[in-house]
């Protein structure tokens, strides 16, 4: 027995009979192969999970928020998989959706959370004065950047995208993205310089 309404997404069409209380009704149902779609989704998630998590973490600055954001991104991918061309590079779409999901999450952040982050920026006297401390300071500096500058510099300098790719993902012009990146780098350099003493 197969329900005509079990999953969806394929092109096989069958006639179905629904019998209820002595009445037989005939209809046409469209049935889909879910197995192939599910496998494709899992493969995409395995390939690009680090990309999404890493980008979300640098945009949000919180591990748990980044994990929440990544889940939302992949659920959106699952819902939209049927509309995505197989074989097409999904990374621009993933970056764009990650930025948007993080933007939505940030809008719900309260001032209390921002103050918490600032408290965590205090230099750690125990930390080795080396790359670890530099990383900590740069991470703190990233959290302080305006959202758009942070997105631009994360995509450019952490994800390694070109300015043009960043502009396409953010829906901005290249000139705007260049200004945002320059501003972000100068601010980060200033922040790290001040905190390093």
């Amino acid at each position: 027995m197969k329900s005509p309404l079990h999953v969806s997404r394929a092109e096989s069409v069958y006639l179905y009979e629904v019998e209820t209380q002595g009445l037989v009704l005939t209809g046409i149902g469209r049935e889909v192969e879910q197995g192939a779609e599910r496998a494709r989704f899992e493969r995409l998630m395995a390939e690009h999970e680090r990309l999404v998590l890493r980008t979300a973490l640098r945009l949000l600055g919180h591990v748990e928020e980044a994990r929440d954001a990544a889940q939302e991104v992949f659920l959106k991918l699952y819902r939209n998989l049927g509309r995505m061309e197989p074989g097409r590079d999904p990374r621009p779409w993933l970056y764009r959706v990650t930025v948007n999901v993080c933007h939505d999450l940030q809008r719900h952040r309260g001032q209390e959370e921002l103050d918490e982050n600032q408290a965590a920026d205090k230099p750690d006297p125990e930390a080795a004065a080396g790359l670890a401390e530099q990383r900590r300071l740069v991470e703190a500096g990233l959290r302080r950047l305006p959202e758009k500058e942070r997105a631009a510099v994360v995509l450019r300098d952490i994800e390694g995208l070109t300015t043009r790719e960043v502009a396409e993902i953010l829906g901005s012009s290249e000139a705007t993205v260049r200004s945002q990146i320059a501003s972000a780098r100068l601010k980060l350099r200033g922040f790290v310089g001040r905190k390093s003493g």
Partner: protein, 155 residues
């Protein structure tokens, strides 16, 4: 030319112009800026591999939950659609070629229809092309899932 004018180009590491190269050769402040920008970019690049646990199990669990819910409610919506289709069929004056019910109506109708537990569904055969001289009435109902379209064909 003052240093301020070169700041943006130095921040973008676009130091290839002869004029800027000459300025950098002469200005210690801008040299230091260029070095610090390069160092900051290097640290940014090292942030590519944070320690963060996979979300795959959570995502797959949520999808499984979504799929389980998706199997159940369309059955109710289908039963509601059957009732509606029968109602139109037995109303002699009404000519309905297609009846695209809004998605929200389907969701509202579904819970009110009691489907008897004895309902059985059988897959009969693949569709045949309707004969051209037969009058076929077709009712199409788009469900909340864009991939699920109910088509009821009545002779």
């Amino acid at each position: 030319m003052s240093c301020g004018r070169w700041e943006k180009l130095i921040a973008l590491e676009e130091t290839g112009t002869p004029e800027l190269r000459a300025h950098l050769a002469a200005c210690l402040e801008c040299q230091r800026l260029a070095e610090e920008i390069a160092a900051t970019r290097q640290v940014l690049g090292s942030l590519r591999d944070p320690a963060i646990d996979s979300v795959r199990p959570l995502v797959l669990a949520r999808i499984d939950g979504m799929e389980r819910r998706r199997v159940w409610w369309p059955a109710w919506a289908a039963a509601a659609a059957v009732v509606v289709a029968i109602a139109f069929y037995i109303r002699p004056a009404l000519q309905v070629e297609t009846m695209p019910l809004p998605v929200m109506q389907i969701a509202k109708l579904a819970p009110r229809v009691a489907v008897p537990p004895a309902t059985t569904v059988r897959k009969v055969r693949k569709p045949r092309t309707p004969a051209l001289n037969r009058r076929v009435q077709e009712v199409k109902i788009q469900t909340g899932d864009p991939n699920v379209l109910l088509i009821w064909v009545m002779d």
